[in-house]
């Protein structure tokens, strides 16, 4: 076992680690800045891998299992790389009442895609959000950051299919 009590250097010279290091420095490398740091890493890299978690744990002097426990407690954090495209379906009450379950069912039937999963070709990740706050437009999805409302199941299926075929 390696025993190294100095603050570790970033896993690689990828420039994005500079952002992460700066964020930790701004918070004085306090253990309490763990969640803020995880946010920064995810923003920079899209997800949290083992390397990142080990680096953060050593830098903030938080036990490995605790970092992992925090990262898996909060649904906002992802431990696997996301697909090229993200389809986030709102599952808030208004969207539920107005038919999101049917959209989810359609995606599962068509692509065997369940919330939290990515298609095997790595093209599309399906996620759910508790409420994106656009209840007036229910049911709502966020396609790569763009909020789209009043959706029907086949519209979402077609959007995913276009993504899979590299059409926009």
């Amino acid at each position: 076992m390696r025993i190294d009590l100095s603050r570790p250097s970033p896993p690689s010279d990828d420039k994005r680690w500079k952002m992460v290091s700066a964020s930790m420095r701004r918070h004085g490398h306090k253990a309490s800045s763990l969640i803020e740091t995880l946010h920064t890493v995810q923003e920079a890299f899209g997800f949290l891998d083992e390397e990142a978690i080990e680096f953060i744990a050593a830098s903030l002097r938080v036990p490995l299992s605790q970092v992992y426990g925090v990262a898996t407690f909060y649904h906002f954090f992802h431990l696997k790389p996301p697909g090229e495209h993200a389809c986030v379906l709102c599952t808030g009450t208004a969207c539920y009442i107005k038919g999101v379950p049917k959209i989810l069912q359609a995606l599962e039937e068509e692509f065997h895609l369940k919330p939290g999963e990515t298609t095997p070709d790595g093209k599309v990740s399906l996620m759910t959000a508790r409420c994106v706050g656009a209840c007036g437009l229910a049911p709502v999805a966020v396609f790569d950051g763009e909020v789209v409302g009043n959706l029907k199941p086949d519209e979402v299926v077609q959007k995913v299919r276009r993504w899979k075929n590299d059409e926009s």
Binding site: I35, A94, I97, R130, V147
Partner: protein
């Protein structure tokens, strides 16, 4: 800066505004943005520039105007016209008609009950000011209350004023705000904290997001006044990471307030200092519970701990901590500015002031409304909300999200206040109001909320962790026609146990959607049951 300098900013801003005859306000809150109000705003600006009208007409982005279902919304401040469903293509016509007859095709009447029956305190500046400009906020009376509190009132006087106003926590439970402040102010300890809970987690609720997107300075002002009253030097706003726009505007507002000396060291030249940091939530509903929220701010898993000790005594870092939600803080400045007596004249006997609701589901006017406490539910749904679309009939309204309940037709004349709603088996909650028409299946609705609680349970205490899962399985069996009367009996038993024995509010209230639908729609459950032998076969 000192108070006079702030007042100068306000005066200059008002003067500058008077010099421009036309103001076009485009809603740039999340719902309108999602239907491309940013493009509308750009088109309008281009059009104004093309016609060389920059001096006579200003186009600005403002916060939420409320009627989200008709977005994008554009208002012409001087003409008093409101336009709905505006697209970029409409820009030339809108600019053409400035100061003349409004464009009929796009007009949205402001005489309708949706606008007439509201009473705006928290949202008074939403849709009016540019949330990205502190000067706009100041010109509209922002930070007046802070100046008043810091220069003319002692901390106990501030607390007394809030106490006398009768304001109760808007996060759901309705605890008297003045009492909470007074408890924290009396707590022994050097360092105290103020936390603004903006982890709005109820699915179908977007009040706090809208306030932060539309008028962030109002929230900061409330927090600063609270910090002055209880003697805190540090504060956090704990906001959902799912609200990027609200976070951006909040951060901008903090920077602006710091620049003007409204936040930070020696506020307004007084000895009082207060710093605010933004902390991002990460998708955990349970973090709305105050001890879980504190754990999360401290960088840990958001698991609640048993109370006492309450945060007022031992909160973040073990220090006395005041936690209020966004809407509560947004009420503070108006109370200080206009007095407790004015505030307590609004609302009902035990519930003072107004309440913001997010109206959604099967209702014509979806969006954000603010109404005086005590208003009957019927008025909200059928006048302000304009009733049920597609010729369907009303079945129930869900308030309070996963901790609340469904209220049926026969109770629609109930006044909206904390006590009346809890008597009906629901709660005020943070303000989500989801309307369901006669096509909604109430057992499925109950299953939906149980699924939510199950996936949001932190897993610490056994009754909530396992009980929500078992209840969800039972509800699923009932929906799928695989359950017998024994399953329904077990469901009711588990509701009782989980409610009475869970560690925190999430578990204690998780059975509410089941209990309230059982209370009013028991027949729907029973009609799905099959006999015992059948149920065994389908297992």
């Amino acid at each position: 800066m000192n108070p006079e300098e702030i007042q100068t900013i306000a005066a200059n801003q008002r003067k500058a505004k008077e010099q421009v005859p036309h103001h076009i306000c485009v809603c740039t809150a999340a719902a309108c943005l999602s239907v491309h109000s940013d493009e509308v705003k750009d088109a309008l600006s281009d059009e104004v520039r093309k016609r060389g009208l920059e001096k006579e007409c200003k186009v600005k982005g403002v916060g939420c105007m409320g009627l989200c279902s008709k977005g994008p919304l554009v208002s012409i401040e001087t003409d008093g016209a409101l336009y709905q469903n505006v697209t970029a293509k409409d820009a030339p016509e809108i600019v053409e008609q400035l100061g003349q007859k409004p464009v009929k095709r796009l007009k949205c009447s402001t005489k309708i009950p949706f606008f007439q029956n509201q009473k705006k305190i928290v949202l008074e500046n939403s849709g009016v000011i540019d949330p990205d400009r502190v000067e706009d906020a100041i010109a509209a009376g922002g930070y007046d209350a802070l100046i008043q509190a810091l220069t003319a009132m002692s901390p106990p006087e501030v607390i007394e004023e809030i106490f006398a106003s009768g304001l109760r926590g808007r996060g759901g439970a309705g605890y008297p705000t003045g009492l909470k402040w007074s408890t924290v102010s009396k707590a022994v300890g050097m360092h105290k904290y103020v936390i603004c809970n903006a982890d709005e987690g109820d699915p179908g609720a977007f009040m706090d997001r809208s306030v932060l997107e539309s008028d962030p300075h109002r929230v900061l002002e409330g927090m600063i006044i609270a910090a002055y009253a209880i003697g805190a030097e540090h504060g956090y706003v704990y906001v959902r990471a799912e609200y990027p726009l609200a976070i951006k505007r909040l951060r901008t507002a903090i920077r602006q307030a710091e620049r003007l000396g409204l936040l930070g060291k020696n506020i307004l030249g007084t000895p009082f200092s207060f710093h605010i940091e933004v902390r991002l939530g990460a998708g955990a509903f349970v973090c709305g519970e105050e001890t879980a929220l504190i754990a999360s701010i401290e960088g840990r898993r958001g698991s609640p701990r048993p109370r006492p000790p309450y945060p007022a005594e031992s909160g973040v870092w073990g220090r006395p901590t005041l936690i209020n939600n966004v809407e509560t803080f947004a009420n503070i400045a108006p109370i200080i500015r206009r007095g407790a007596e004015w505030f307590s004249s609004i609302g009902s006997e035990k519930s003072k002031g107004t309440k913001v609701f997010a109206l959604a589901g099967c209702i014509n006017n979806t969006g954000l409304i603010e109404v005086p406490m005590g208003i009957p539910l019927r008025e909200i749904i059928f006048d302000i909300g304009d009733g049920i679309p597609n010729g369907r009939s009303f079945k129930a309204v869900q308030t309070g999200g996963p901790s609340g309940g469904c209220i049926p037709e026969q109770h629609l004349d109930t006044p909206v206040d904390y006590e009346s709603l809890s008597k009906l088996g629901s709660i005020m909650g943070s303000g989500g109001m989801i309307v369901m028409d006669d096509t909604s299946d109430m057992v499925e609705v109950a299953r939906y909320f149980m699924e939510f609680c199950l996936s949001e349970s932190c897993g610490k205490c056994a009754p909530c962790r396992i009980g929500t899962d078992q209840m969800h399985r039972l509800l699923d069996r009932i929906v799928k026609g695989k359950a017998s009367i024994h399953d329904l009996e077990l469901l009711e038993e588990l509701c009782d146990v989980v409610r009475s024995t869970s560690l925190c509010g999430l578990g204690q209230t998780a059975p509410n959607p089941v209990l309230s639908t059982l209370r009013y729609f028991r027949g729907e459950y029973e009609s799905k049951l099959v006999d015992v032998a059948e149920a065994v076969k389908k297992a």
